[in-house]
């Protein structure tokens, strides 16, 4: 096992990883930017070091500085958390070349999944179900139109180097296509420094269902069931649950098993999530793979009892999966998470500011992950996540009721939070009935 791990992240996920390191008896190093000085997550670490000014590119995204610090302090592993450098293959290589373990998959696999059309080609070759799509679009407009015709409208124009739902534009007919491609290319260039875009058949009102996998350095991969993350705003997740409501268990379990076999075939060797869309006909298609711990990993932990961060660390340290995972994993009960954001609950505009009052809820079956405390300040430098509130129950109804009560009790003053929007969706009849899809939040807002 590692002796000392540097956590290359901040706030809620840094606190989460530090908690598990502490439980495992592994020494820890936290890093922080000047904007995060004094943040409560730092107190959980054995030592904490400032790595630069507030803007992320001068601190949490400065891989060179982070690796140098890790080497200087004698860390033998780096945990990247999620976001920032977690899916940066060059960073993973830098870490490795410094003689430090990267707690994540092999850089080759990060690379393979980071480019969407290459990931599609790779997974298609292993039998992954997939909707029709194109390769990276050429400059020739006639060829682009022909590709769209072949796929069939409506199509979605997507950045090849992107992710996180940024820069996707729908085209419903040939007339809309050229403008959608131009706009998506410009957004892709700005967002990812790579203007490549491709087409996928648009699935209307899909459900977002994703499969948690864990691989080891010995060629073994297991799945840890699925999550439903259909409730989204701007293509970003807001509510996540395990297991997926209303999908026949044998069907989703069979899919999870097939996906784990495919991941073993490509040599996947750490934690990862395969995101899929489910159409209203019940068919699944590959969306993308995230080669890191997921923001919503906690709901899987709550229904399986597995500490996914510990499992990820043990796998990266070379332990064989079957030595630390139970022989049989069965989900039990239901867990649901709401992401509490510092944002306006109607238009979802960012709302940084001081946390004059910040009192996370407590209660039976309630778990809160946060990197903030009362008296702290939420700056505009980073993402708006204030806290993740996770509720567990014997049934989905019980978990939803507990989450609703917890969010009602969550007191935040000094900035705007999306709690009113979260409560609106939890009380929305189609959501209660489990009839979720990616357009549901917008529908609930409109009622």
């Amino acid at each position: 096992m590692f002796k000392k791990v540097l956590v290359a992240n901040r706030s809620a996920v840094a606190a989460r990883v530090l908690r598990t390191l502490d439980k495992m008896g592994v020494a820890s190093i936290a890093i922080y930017s000047e904007a995060d000085a004094g943040a409560p997550y730092l107190a959980r670490a054995g030592e904490a070091h400032c790595i630069g000014p507030g803007p992320a590119r001068e601190s949490y995204l400065d891989g060179k500085k982070i690796v140098e610090l890790a080497r200087k302090l004698g860390a033998d592993a780096i945990h990247p958390g999620y976001g920032f450098l977690s899916e940066n293959a060059a960073f993973a290589r830098q870490v490795h070349e410094a003689g430090i373990a990267f707690i994540g998959p092999n850089a080759r696999l990060i690379d393979a999944m980071g480019h969407k059309t290459r990931a599609r080609e790779l997974m298609m070759g292993h039998g992954m179900p997939m909707n029709a799509g194109s390769g990276v679009l050429p400059a020739d407009e006639a060829a682009v139109a022909a590709a769209a015709e072949r796929i069939g409208y409506p199509v979605l124009v997507k950045p090849a180097a992107g992710g996180g739902g940024i820069g996707m534009i729908a085209a419903r007919d040939a007339k809309q296509l050229a403008a959608a491609v131009t706009q998506a290319q410009s957004m892709a260039m700005r967002g990812f420094g790579n203007g490549e875009v491709y087409l996928e058949r648009l699935i209307e009102r899909p459900r977002h269902i994703e499969i948690q996998v864990l691989g080891d350095r010995h060629g073994r991969v297991r799945h840890i069931f699925e999550r439903d993350c259909s409730v989204q705003r701007r293509h970003q997740k807001v509510i996540e649950e395990a297991t997926a409501p209303g999908v026949p268990r044998e069907k989703v379990t069979a899919l999870c098993e097939r996906v784990a076999e495919m991941m073993a075939a490509i040599g996947y060797d750490n934690i990862g999530t395969i995101e899929m869309l489910m159409g209203d006909d019940g068919s699944f298609s590959f969306l993308e793979m995230n080669t890191r711990l997921q923001v919503e990993h906690g709901v899987t932990e709550e229904v399986t009892g597995i500490d996914l961060v510990e499992a990820q660390i043990r796998s990266a340290a070379g332990e064989a999966l079957d030595t630390f995972l139970p022989a049989a994993i069965e989900p039990s009960g239901h867990a649901i998470q709401a992401r509490v954001y510092a944002e306006d609950p109607v238009r979802f505009f960012p709302s940084p500011g001081p946390l004059k009052t910040f009192r996370p809820p407590r209660g039976e079956g309630i778990r809160v992950e946060t990197g903030y405390a009362e008296g702290g300040t939420v700056t505009p430098n980073y993402d708006p996540l204030l806290a993740k509130v996770i509720a567990r129950g014997a049934t989905r109804n019980e978990a939803v009721a507990r989450l609703e009560a917890a969010l009602e009790a969550f007191t935040i003053e000094g900035l705007k939070s999306n709690i009113p929007a979260l409560l609106r969706i939890l009380r929305h009849e189609p959501f209660r009935a489990g009839a979720v899809h990616t357009g549901l939040l917008a529908e609930a807002q409109a009622t």
């Binding site: 510092a342 505009f349 940084p352 505009p380 993402d383 708006p384």
Partner: protein, 73 residues
Amino acid sequence: MAKTEVKSEITGAVWKILVKPGDVVGVDEAVIILESMKMEIPVLAIDGGKVTEILVKEGEAVNEGQTVAIVEV
């Protein structure tokens, strides 16, 4: 001629200035794009008219309610 103030609805930093003094903007046209919490949020002109002043620089921090430009209607 009436002067109207273009105000930021959020706290963030100026990412891009889209117009310069002398430019004519329409109603709800973006004048400036702010960056906050990993999102890009445009600041829109409430009234159309001629831009007479830009009160911020790229990279500068702005507060909610701060005037970022003046438009002459």
